[in-house]
């Protein structure tokens, strides 16, 4: 399967660039404004990762939690969230879009039905952050059957056997976590994870996108130097949308400028 993410990584390799992938919570702060924000992100980035709001986001820090609360308070259901993705897909037929969704929302609808709906909305990949490799098989199978790539998280403490399994099971990209803990900025040292990325490459895992705590151009350069194929920027961006929404396009352009790799 050569999806939109895979095509993007090919193109960026020729351009000698890493991918800038913003993360946003679907429906934050409300569905209408969310769609406007997604459009801004799409115009200033290479791909998007979007999250469905869930009542119990255990892998997320305070910034994403607050965004989830806003989205749910504004009536963002799973249906409406996927509707936003579908609307974005109509505007951007070639944009790679990945979804982050907690296990119970997938489970409640039924795995086959959920992934079919995700596929229909135009998603390329789905990441379930509370389903580790050892529980991933039924989710990955249902995803593949619907034509959606299952994305897995590779944390710094994963043993080789886990990374090998992630390489076998995952598609489109691997979400590489740069440090322990949960999402958010300034929660601990960024670990460049060079050895983690090298190990993933040895197992021929899907390209590494680095997430958790990336907030500035320096972080982006640092991450790409470690061998990542791109970065995911979530909490820092959500905070900026809340505090200085007008500066978001410029902020994204600065981050994107930092994705340029040195000539080979």
């Amino acid at each position: 399967m050569s999806g939109r993410f895979t095509q993007l990584f090919h193109r960026l390799e020729n351009e000698r660039r890493g991918a800038l992938v913003p993360f946003a919570v679907l429906g934050d702060p409300n569905p209408e404004e969310s769609l406007r924000r997604l459009a801004v992100l799409a115009d200033h980035a290479d791909a998007l990762e979007v999250g469905l709001p869930f009542s119990d986001p255990i892998a997320d820090g305070p910034t994403v939690q607050a965004a989830v609360l806003r989205a749910r308070a504004a009536g963002t259901t799973v249906e409406r969230g996927l509707g936003l993705v579908a609307a974005l897909r109509r505007m951007h037929p070639d944009l790679p879009i990945g979804l982050l969704v907690y296990a119970n929302l997938v489970h409640a609808r039924g795995l086959e039905r959920f992934y079919a709906a995700a596929s229909q909305a135009g998603l390329d990949a789905v990441l379930v952050p509370d389903v580790p490799l050892e529980e991933a098989a039924p989710f990955a199978r249902a995803a593949r059957a619907a034509g959606v790539a299952p994305v897995l998280i590779a944390p710094p403490n994963a043993p080789d056997a886990t990374l090998a399994g992630i390489a076998r099971t995952g598609g489109e990209y691997t979400y590489v976590v740069t440090r322990k803990g949960i999402t958010g900025v300034g929660r601990g040292e960024l670990d460049p994870s060079q050895s983690l990325i090298e190990r993933l490459e040895r197992f021929e895992a899907p390209p590494a996108l680095l997430g958790f705590g990336i907030a500035c151009a320096e972080h982006v350069r640092h991450s790409l130097k470690s061998g990542a194929r791109g970065v995911i920027v979530g909490s820092a961006l959500i905070e900026r949308f809340t505090k200085e929404p007008d500066s978001v396009p410029q902020y994204l352009d600065e981050l994107r400028a930092a994705t340029t790799l040195p000539p080979r």
């Binding site: 869930f54 009542s55 119990d56 997938v106 403490n157 994963a158 322990k180 601990g188």
Partner: protein
């Protein structure tokens, strides 16, 4: 519901259980499982734990035959007196076990979630005994409702962190503890308070609580010459129930009854009856039954007793229900309150509101068939001192009586 069966992985009770956590928590859970299995077999671990249970916590607890509570019926009712355990509830058993395990695994810091504060108090208390740094996550709402327990935890030297996210109650405290642990697992043990959460917690907690049933079984055989017809316990997360059920699982003549929080009635939507009204779902690391809406958002539970106020339930209970080995019913708030008062007036024992639910269900069944001869044991999982202010407000402030 999904049509494809989930692949059985580790820690399954039938189709329930498992380890649904962020990948970063898998290695610490695997290490915990290995450590548990290793130390459980170590005679010096068992000896130290037995010594603590006996000389620190006061085990074995008495088995009291009631004199008046069910008068007019032919039910013979015994109470397993976990209310007399140090700390005032069964929580102490498994907190001692996990604390000793964490100590042997070299963890210097202990984190825990708490709802009413009973588990938090037990962790703070035994953390003081072991000289650990203790951090307890507690929903902000619960901190206000249970202020005396917050003070008790602080007296024992623990830090209590009010959780404001989500619904600011027990499930959110558990979320916050899991977040902490995903950052701190190297030097920190997450001391889960019930038979819920990701594998191996349901098994570890059940194992450290089964002493309740083991003692009950031996003593009832000695005194009555036979096994009971029915063993009953309240179920929130379900640790005191599995504590007393486990020793009887292999004896099909012993009926097992779990009693959930019926709140204001199952039809009111304000209850904690996960096993009766929940649907299969994934939360806090496990596949179990969950109170949730049609798209899978987890709902808030409600109960007069904070200890039963949890929208999930331990996966082994979901399995025991599915296989028919145990039966689960609900007792409503007012029934539990009535049972609390009745036990106080007929036996001179003040139960906590949680086991008052089990007493209410057993009394209901006994009075429905007064001529039926039955030998029954109820796990009196905790004492009612913690509920005094609440109960007094309900009874004297124009409550349900």
């Amino acid at each position: 519901m999904n049509t494809a069966p989930l692949i059985p992985a580790c820690g399954r009770y039938g189709e329930f259980g498992g380890r649904y956590v962020p990948e970063i928590l898998v290695p610490p859970l695997v290490a915990l499982e290995e450590g548990f299995l290793r130390h459980r077999e170590d005679p010096s671990f068992r000896a130290e734990l037995d010594d603590l249970l006996h000389r620190y916590a006061g085990r074995p607890t008495p088995l009291t035959r009631t004199r008046r509570f069910l008068s007019g019926t032919r039910t013979v009712l015994y109470l397993k007196r976990e209310d007399l355990l140090h700390g005032g509830a069964h929580k102490t058993n498994q907190v001692l076990g996990q604390m000793l395990l964490a100590h042997r695994l070299g963890k210097r810091r202990i984190i825990a979630e708490t709802g009413a504060g009973q588990h938090g108090v037990a962790v703070a208390m035994i953390g003081a005994l072991f000289g650990k740094e203790v951090v307890v996550y507690m929903g902000e709402k619960d901190c206000r409702r249970q202020a005396p327990n917050v003070f008790r935890m602080k007296l024992f030297g623990a830090r209590v962190v009010p959780v404001t996210s989500g619904s600011a109650s027990l499930k959110d405290a558990m979320n916050e503890a899991l977040r902490d642990w995903s950052e701190s697992y190297e030097d920190t043990h997450y001391l889960v308070g019930t038979v819920a959460g990701p594998h191996p917690f349901p098994t570890i907690v059940r194992d450290f609580q089964r002493v309740i049933g083991d003692e009950t079984r031996a003593e009832i055989l000695e005194r009555e010459g036979r096994l009971p017809d029915l063993v009953a316990a309240c179920v929130g997360g379900g640790s005191n129930a599995l504590g007393i059920f486990t020793a009887f699982l292999g004896n099909p003549t012993v009926a097992l009854l779990g009693v959930e929080a019926g709140g204001e009635g199952l039809e009111s939507g304000r209850h904690g009856a996960t096993l009766e009204r929940g649907k299969p779902g994934i939360l806090h690391g496990m596949r179990s039954l969950l109170l949730q809406d049609s798209e899978g958002q987890v709902q808030e539970s409600h109960s007069i007793s904070a200890g039963l106020d949890y929208p999930g339930v331990g996966p082994e209970h979901a399995h025991l229900q599915a296989t028919g080995r145990a039966r689960y019913v609900a007792a409503e708030d007012h029934e539990a309150l009535d049972a609390l008062v009745a036990l106080a007036r007929t036996e001179g024992i003040l139960p906590a509101l949680e086991p008052a639910h089990a007493l209410a269900a057993v009394a209901r069944e006994a009075r429905a068939e007064p001529e039926r001869e039955r030998l029954v044991v109820v796990n009196l999982s905790g004492r009612g001192d913690k509920d005094l202010a609440h109960v007094s407000a309900l009874l004297e402030g124009g409550g349900s009586r």
